[in-house]
Symmetry: D2
Subunit: 230 residues, 4 copies
């Protein structure tokens, strides 16, 4: 498998365990494997989808906070485009899938929040407490993690898995391009603030912590999905 | 002239002087009349355009803060769409006009801020201090004021004014639609929080103050344009 | 038992179940009963104390956000005084108790966060998304709930419980006064924005939801304490 | 004259012109010289004092935002203490002086804002857009500039100037101590994020710009005072 989501992501991913550790637990979670081989109970998937819709609402708010915090034209444009894609594209996919199951968008928007509350609010607060980079480090695991999962499952999915649509969403070129561009933009943002050897900056450990915490919150999200509705 | 930018705007406009007072001073400023009859010095216009570009950068940040503060799907979508329109459309118009004068976008982005600093930061802080409505009341004078000015100048412009392009931008149906939709969305946001008789709410005076202050800051913005570069 | 923490609190408390429901589950949690009769394992108490220290750090940040959002002199002063009390008094009590167990303040500050992450970040985000009242509704359950628990345990504690110091902190007149003053300030803030019949405002349901959600997050906090360190 | 407000301040001061340039224009403004030799019209002083009261309200909000953004115990404590000092001490001095002129605190709190609006909102937005350091760089010119002015005027004031009380407020050991401690705290905050050679960091130019812009806004503040009420 090959992907290039930029240098900062590569460093953060390694810092979060790389092929092992928290990053592996997130990208190879039992929920993910259930999507891959089709063994995931439909009830779990729908529970996840509802929670992920609410997640996307707050994730859109977090990317909008990134517009507020942007300092260059590239950052302003990239974050505004991401908000637009989240609100007018990715949220729509969830709505469509859920509509086929008789769940309306109003129900989705009003869904009670579970584990994802800690996640989304942590990301937003990372932006409030720190600067643009703190927010990017907290946002990256979701974007790039789904990219990495999508790419792998696009190759390894068991034919006939009922979750092929979900897999295709993140495996397809369009989403991979989003990840590559986000990675390049983050690299520029990092270089602009921390120079050419960012890992040598005293801020790096804090950014790594943001990334790792968000990765752990992703693991909690999958686990909540797997448990299904209470 | 007829326009319908919603009930909240109508009330706020009236509270800011309506056809007279601050609202009139803003929408009939000497700068505006100079656009209408073509007497505005080119130097003033270009100075204004540069400052307006920087204004739009921070105005986009303010509308993004509105996404952070939105509480309904309608609010989320409307604000995200506005950010997108500002960043990917309206800023582009300024870039195009300035490029024809040999001014690059990088120069625009780096332009020193003058009077507009108070304006944009006041709006962003209105969102920090208050809720979604405080932010909307501070954002409204720019959006709807330009709509009203565009509509009037679309009819009253002296043929041959070199500022016809600028006038058309705000007079055309597309921008008028933006104002009408923003007005309807604001009415819904007001109704949702203050009920059917919002002017009877104790919060109304604070919202009116936000709108009036932003109107006065618009007056200052035109005056700065008129003075031209120092 | 008698306490008067103001009218808004009384309404919100009732809306969160009053003597029953979520409010009862919070104020009569097994953890609380363990403090009262002394049966709470020391390990659970210390785990709670460490997490509560980290909670107070972020709770201080949330009360500071309330200063940012205050609109009157009374609000500005009350919130600034609360931040000061939290940082320079209540956090100090935790440090003292923990020091006696050989836990340094640096360890406390660096403690990994568990369930309380959702709680504190939810409160901060309530302030970001809404206005001063949204933040107050999310802050109130902690302040007034501890006041109510302290008052009851001050009367019902089993003599000799090793947690008498903790109980006294919240039972004593000084803390009760803090709750009464916070309640009066919140009533003023509510009246200023929603008028004399706030429960009739369309915003009331949103504020109640903030209060109820924070109450549920308090229940989760006690449960985490009871489970002790992993 | 000797003062030591830390290394970061010394660098930023130099970057803003040091003994000359903007820093000199701020600390040796005609308004300041009028305080020194007593020639400042009483009307100008009172106009300034009212505006400075409103400035302090928003400056307290900005320091509270610094609590929200703090990442260490030292930062949390220092900023909380500053908010407390501003709200419960410095604002009180203004109230006392104004009361002697028959101006109530309610009038002060409700005073219309002029040039200081750009200043205070710029500082708050610096905190929203950037991190703790961006906010500190924007806050520093006011704190340390007044310290430097106070120290100089404490030595150079013409005996009998009616502004001796004002001068003493900022000349006295207590305020000088505040400046020295703030400077040390900022140095620690800078070292923690940018390492031992902060001026070599790519972020330094941005921080310098924050400091210089705030210095220029201080010049505008004095000029507004000198002009007096409209």
């Amino acid at each position: 498998m090959s992907f290039d989501y930029g240098n900062s992501f590569a460093l953060w991913r390694e810092g979060a365990g790389g092929a092992g550790g928290a990053w592996h637990d997130y990208t190879h979670h039992a929920f993910v494997e259930g999507l891959r081989d089709g063994s995931l109970p439909r009830e779990s998937f729908l529970h996840y989808l509802k929670q992920d819709y609410v997640f996307l609402v707050h994730f859109s708010r977090a990317w909008s906070l990134a517009v507020v915090k942007s300092e260059t034209l590239e950052e302003l444009r990239a974050c505004a485009a991401t908000v637009n894609a989240l609100v007018n594209f990715e949220m729509g996919l969830h709505v469509k899938t859920c509509a086929a199951e008789g769940i309306t968008e109003a129900e989705l928007f009003a869904a009670e929040e579970f584990e994802n509350m800690a996640y989304t609010r942590y990301v937003i607060d990372a932006g409030m407490q720190g600067d643009y980079l703190d927010l990017m480090a907290a946002l990256a695991p979701c974007v790039m993690g789904y990219g990495e999962i999508g790419l792998r499952l696009g190759r390894e999915a068991v034919p006939g898995t009922p979750y092929q649509d979900w897999i295709d969403t993140y495996a397809r070129e369009e989403f991979q391009q989003v990840c590559a561009e986000a990675g390049a933009m983050i690299d520029n943002a990092v270089r602009r603030r921390l120079g050419d050897d960012p890992a040598a900056s005293p801020r790096w450990a804090v950014l790594q912590q943001r990334f790792t915490t968000a990765t752990e919150l992703e693991i909690g999200f999958w686990s909540m999905g797997l448990r299904g509705p209470k």
